[in-house]
Symmetry: none
Subunit: 201 residues, 4 copies
Amino acid sequence: MVSSSLRPLRADAARNRELLLAAAEEEFAERGLSASIADIARRAGIAKGTVFRHFASKEELIASIVCGHLATLADVARRLTDAGDPGAALLEFLTVAADQRRQHDLTFLQSVSEGDSRVTEVRDELYAGIGALVDRAHAAGTIRSDVTATDVFLLMCAPVHVVENLANPAPELWKRYLAIIFDGLRPEGATPLPQPAPARP
Amino acid sequence: MVSSSLRPLRADAARNRELLLAAAEEEFAERGLSASIADIARRAGIAKGTVFRHFASKEELIASIVCGHLATLADVARRLTDAGDPGAALLEFLTVAADQRRQHDLTFLQSVSEGDSRVTEVRDELYAGIGALVDRAHAAGTIRSDVTATDVFLLMCAPVHVVENLANPAPELWKRYLAIIFDGLRPEGATPLPQPAPARP
Amino acid sequence: MVSSSLRPLRADAARNRELLLAAAEEEFAERGLSASIADIARRAGIAKGTVFRHFASKEELIASIVCGHLATLADVARRLTDAGDPGAALLEFLTVAADQRRQHDLTFLQSVSEGDSRVTEVRDELYAGIGALVDRAHAAGTIRSDVTATDVFLLMCAPVHVVENLANPAPELWKRYLAIIFDGLRPEGATPLPQPAPARP
Amino acid sequence: MVSSSLRPLRADAARNRELLLAAAEEEFAERGLSASIADIARRAGIAKGTVFRHFASKEELIASIVCGHLATLADVARRLTDAGDPGAALLEFLTVAADQRRQHDLTFLQSVSEGDSRVTEVRDELYAGIGALVDRAHAAGTIRSDVTATDVFLLMCAPVHVVENLANPAPELWKRYLAIIFDGLRPEGATPLPQPAPARP
DNA sequence: CATGAATGAGAATTCATTCAT
DNA sequence: CATGAATGAATTCTCATTCAT
């Protein structure tokens, strides 16, 4: 039973679903895309067959994980729209986003769930939230005017990715690269950009 | 270079080796790490078994690809050390590096060949080359003084990674993000970095 | 016995396990160690993948077969310890042992499962049983005093092995060679042995 | 070039043939039947392709090894026919036979080359030799009258086989079991045999 | 004629997914 | 409805054998 519609899941089923998602995140983080359903089920303390009762396929499981992460980020963005300092709000958003990724790097899951409609939907929400943050930052003059919401959306994961090339990165090293990239977004000393901003994803 | 081994291979074998490496790059780029040896062989127009005559295992094949790319980059870095403008040289290096990645994103291959000794060796050469470029840029005051060769090494792939989150990125879009990141490396308007630079990889 | 593990298997699974073991014995007997899992599965009327659900590897399958045979023999030895005539009991044991082997010569499997702990355990039991039989035969003066339990353990398979060098041996021919060897174990006309008895295996 | 007919092989080819046979024996002894042609060739210091110039197939190589061993034994038997003490001669023959096996256990090779005509031929010679030895022993009353040449032929390898069930057998332990078996062949205290002697193999 | 590169038919093993219990 | 047994396609890798160099 996947959809949020209809019956709201029995209590234990809902709990299993959460156990499963958590186990899957850990397993994917440790083993990469090739983490097996069997291992995930074992980690969740659930039978293999039951996994398919919750998620019709491995792809759908992955999509659900990605959805969750994106939804959390969309929430964060929404909440920060009311914050006092628009520049600080945008930086905070990027910080939360990178921190989320850092906990389990699951960026590679995104490519798998590219086509999924629920993912697209949540991503649109997130995109809207980022749009609002960027608009306010523009108005406040905190970031260069030629930078768009899409740019921010794309740069969001960069700090964590950068750090991943290291075997044992310091746990907060990504903040160093977020700082560098955020400096690149500032209006001071900005060089004209050689390529136009891309359209929304 | 890679062929540090024994005899120089028979002409046809050498050709097959190149066909194989090329096919493998394409296949990995399209299918990710899980590209199969069978598909690679088919793409190269070569029998499955022959792949294993050239590369004892899938891992070794991957290591060879990674080695080739790193060696090319090390060459580029070496050549640019003599260039007139240190700042332009560093930017040029990052441009070439990103361009190489763009053709086939194979960053994920790196993690597999982490332990390989040949890879380590070539990476050290590349690292040395980047070090020289960064030193000269520091001397010329083109980049902020708190940025190290390791930082540049890590940031090298970021522009391409950023773009990969898009389904159909404009072919040169990565230049936009390289520009933003490079602006972040400039001394003008630089914010103090929250984390110390990491040690060499 | 072998099924010392957890729950007692579902009825159908248990049946498949037996089918599998039987098919494997036949296939190994016909094709030797290089019998393929695929052929074994086909013979058992079971899918290839299912073999690995029952036995994690070919080695484990072999160990299970060996274990079964050794356990049966250990049982036989135990039962015969109470028999009236110690000499007849020992001969009976060797007869049963050889007969078991004859059905499927699987001696070569033993070398593969040398390290397996379950095998070691059952073999120790068997060894103890043989020890008891030999002790009683010694006491009764039926076998020469310089022959040990290890000797009997080692000679156990000889009659069948001898016969195997023939293309189409008469089904009970092995009894001829068991008789000859058993005569060699008798005290009458025994020549001093040129080498000391080996330590327990 | 396989046959002993026609040209007698160029000197170096003959040498390669011997190197190859020796390497193959060692490799088979160490790795069993699954020793690979590649490893054998490497051990002999010869190219893989050349192996097939000497022996048309792996089976033929094996048959050649087996042939060599059988021929040596046939020679030994022939030579011992003239010896003074018929009983001692037979024992000596069995000793040499077992010793030969012990050096490299290659009994398993025999089953592979079962059908080979050259093997059959040499085996017949060996059989004849054993027949002569047995006849003389019968005449001298050294062995029981109900034992035939075929029995001896079959029992020949038993002592080594027996010892093989041990992980690290003492190098001459087989002599212990040869003594036991030979005692079983003696007329003193012989029990009637339960099965008739088999026909020639 | 020796060499070793190429071949392709398997081998063991893994895994998402289905379905009887 | 949960369970875990069964499935079979796919994967990496091996090897006897052939054949161009």
